[in-house]
C-alpha cells in the first residue's frame, strides 16, 4: 500500500436523507480539486466544484475506459484490476469506439420520440397507481410505482418480456449494492448475460419492432455487443429513474410548501423535474475519469493514470453556479445545467426518456392523491446510502 497518509477517502455519510455529506461542501469551498485515496491503494483526485467537473467531463484527455479505473469505495471487487469494457459496453469506452456504438442508439431517444411515447407512459403510470391504491394505505410506493413504471417502459422499448422483471430487477440490485459479495455479483452478471444473450439470439433470428430488433436488423453488431448494449440500457434505464421517482416523492412529501406549489402550478412541472434531479443527485458516488497524460486542471497537476472522481452531489450544490443551492426551489430558472446526467459525450443517452417518466409520473401521482403522506416516520424510511445509486428502498404512503 502506497497510500499517502494525507489522502482521505470519499465521504458518504449524510446529515439527512436529502443533503450530501457535509465534508463535500467544505472541500468545494477550500479545495475543489483535492486528493482522494482509493481502497486499492491508488491516490487520485476528488473534484467538488461545478466548473471543474464540467471541464473534466468535456475533455477527451480524461478517459472513461474501464481498465484505467479505480473504484473509490469499499466493494467486493474494489481491489481487483479492472478489465477492459466488454464489447458493446460503450459507457466505459472512449472515441472512436464509443461514438460508433452510441450513434446506433441516439435516434431512438430523441426529444420528439419521447414526446410520442407520452400516452404509453401515462398508461403505465395510471395502472401502477391503480395497484398502489388497491393495496390501501400503508402501500409501498417503490414496489408499486417507482420501480414498475421505468421497468415497464424500458422493457417495452427494448423488447424485453416484462414477465422476466424479477430476474433483472434482483440482479441489478445486487450489482448496484456495495454490500454484495464477489460471488453474488459474478452470479448476477452471469444470470443477466445468459438471459439477454438468449433474447438477443431470438431477435437476430426474427427481428421485432423494438430497439433490440432494430439493432439486430442493422447487421452492424455482434451478438455479444448486442447483449451488452441490452444489459447497459436495461440496468441504466430502470434503476436510475426508479430511484428518482421514489426519492423524489419522499423529497416532495418532506417539503410541503414546494409540494403545494407543484400541485397548484402545473406549468412548473418541467422545471420541477430538473430541480429534483439537481437537488437529489442520485449518482452520489460520482462519475470517474482517468487522465491519459499529465495535465493542468485549474492550476492542479493531474498525472497520467490518476483517477478523478467528479462529485455530482457537490457540483450540483455549488453556490457559484446555483443560487441558494441547498434549497429545493421547484421553479428555479435555468435548471438544466445540473450535472445529474453527466456532461460531455457520455451525457446520459436516456435523459429525455427519464424526464418524461418523471414529469408524468410525479404530476399524476400528486393529482391523483391530494392527501398523499408518509405512512411511517421520516426517519424510518430506509435509504440506500450503501449503493452506487442513491434512493429509498421502500416508501410506505397513505392518502
Amino acid at each position: 500500500m502506497t497510500q499517502a497518509p494525507s489522502a482521505p477517502r470519499l465521504p458518504l455519510e449524510r446529515p439527512n436523507p436529502f443533503d450530501p455529506p457535509v465534508r463535500l461542501a467544505e472541500l468545494r469551498e477550500n479545495e475543489p480539486i483535492s486528493r482522494l485515496a482509493f481502497p486499492d491503494g491508488h491516490v487520485g483526485w476528488l473534484v467538488t466544484g461545478y466548473q471543474e467537473a464540467r471541464d473534466v467531463l468535456r475533455d477527451p484527455r480524461f478517459s472513461s475506459r474501464q481498465e484505467l479505473r479505480h473504484f473509490p469505495l469499499d466493494h467486493a471487487l474494489a481491489n481487483e484490476p479492472m478489465e477492459p469494457a466488454r464489447p458493446g459496453m460503450f459507457i466505459r469506452m472512449d472515441a472512436p469506439e464509443h461514438g460508433r456504438l452510441r450513434r446506433l442508439l441516439t435516434g431512438q431517444f430523441t426529444v420528439k420520440r419521447m414526446k410520442a411515447l407520452e400516452p404509453r407512459i401515462q398508461g403505465f403510470v395510471d395502472r401502477a397507481l391503480d395497484e398502489l391504491e388497491a393495496d390501501g394505505p400503508g402501500a409501498d410506493l417503490v414496489a408499486r410505482f417507482a420501480l414498475p413504471v421505468p421497468s415497464l417502459v424500458i422493457c417495452e422499448l427494448l423488447g424485453v418480456p416484462y414477465e422476466d422483471r424479477a430476474r433483472f430487477q434482483q440482479n441489478s440490485r445486487t450489482i448496484m449494492s456495495l454490500d454484495s459479495s464477489r460471488e453474488d455479483i459474478m452470479g448476477a452478471f452471469e444470470s443477466m448475460g445468459q438471459f439477454l444473450h438468449d433474447l438477443v439470439m431470438s431477435k437476430i433470428a426474427e427481428p421485432t419492432d423494438d430497439i433490440l430488433g432494430g439493432l439486430a436488423a442493422t447487421g452492424e453488431l455482434t451478438a455479444e455487443e448486442m447483449t451488452n448494449i441490452a444489459f447497459l440500457l436495461l440496468v441504466a434505464g430502470h434503476e436510475t429513474t426508479a430511484n428518482m421517482l421514489g426519492l423524489g416523492t419522499f423529497a416532495l412529501l418532506r417539503h410541503p410548501g414546494e409540494l403545494a406549489r407543484f400541485r397548484a402550478e402545473p406549468e412548473i412541472a418541467e422545471a420541477a423535474v430538473e430541480e429534483l434531479l439537481r437537488y437529489l443527485s442520485i449518482i452520489h458516488v460520482g462519475m470517474t475519469r482517468t487522465a491519459l497524460e499529465d495535465l493542468d486542471l485549474h492550476g492542479t497537476l493531474v498525472k497520467a493514470g490518476e483517477c478523478v472522481i467528479l462529485s455530482v452531489s457537490a457540483g450540483n450544490r455549488d453556490p457559484e453556479r446555483f443560487e441558494n443551492p441547498d434549497e429545493l426551489d421547484l421553479a428555479r430558472p435555468h435548471g438544466t445545467g445540473h450535472l445529474s446526467f453527466g456532461h460531455g459525450v457520455h451525457q446520459c443517452l436516456g435523459q429525455q426518456l427519464a424526464r418524461v417518466e418523471m414529469r408524468i409520473g410525479l404530476t399524476t401521482l400528486v393529482e391523483r392523491f391530494p392527501n398523499l403522506r408518509l405512512a411511517v416516520a421520516p426517519e424510518d424510511v430506509p435509504t440506500k446510502t450503501n449503493a452506487i445509486i442513491y434512493g429509498v428502498h421502500s416508501l410506505k404512503v397513505a392518502w
Binding site: 468535456r58 461514438g99 450513434r103 441516439t106 435516434g107 426529444v111 420528439k112 445545467g337 446526467f341
Partner: protein, 64 residues
C-alpha cells in the same frame, strides 16, 4: 445572431432541441442536431445562448 452546429461533435443528447425547440431539432434517424433557424429572431436569442451553454459536446457555435 448566427447559429452553427457541428454534427461531427454532436452526441445526440437532445439538450438543444429541449432548450430552444424553435431553433434546433434532431434528425429523426440519427438523433443528431439540425439547425432550423440559422439566424433566429431576437425572441429566441436567450434560449439559443442557453442551448449552446448546456450542449454537452460543445457542438453549437453562436456568433453575435
Amino acid at each position: 445572431m448566427n447559429v452553427e452546429a457541428d454534427r461531427e461533435r454532436c452526441c445526440g443528447s437532445g439538450m438543444c432541441a429541449l432548450t430552444a425547440p424553435d431553433v434546433f431539432d434532431q434528425d429523426a434517424e440519427t438523433g443528431y442536431v439540425l439547425v432550423l433557424l440559422p439566424e433566429p429572431p431576437r425572441e429566441w436569442h436567450d434560449d439559443v445562448r442557453s442551448a449552446a451553454g448546456v450542449c454537452p459536446s460543445g457542438a453549437i457555435t453562436v456568433r453575435e
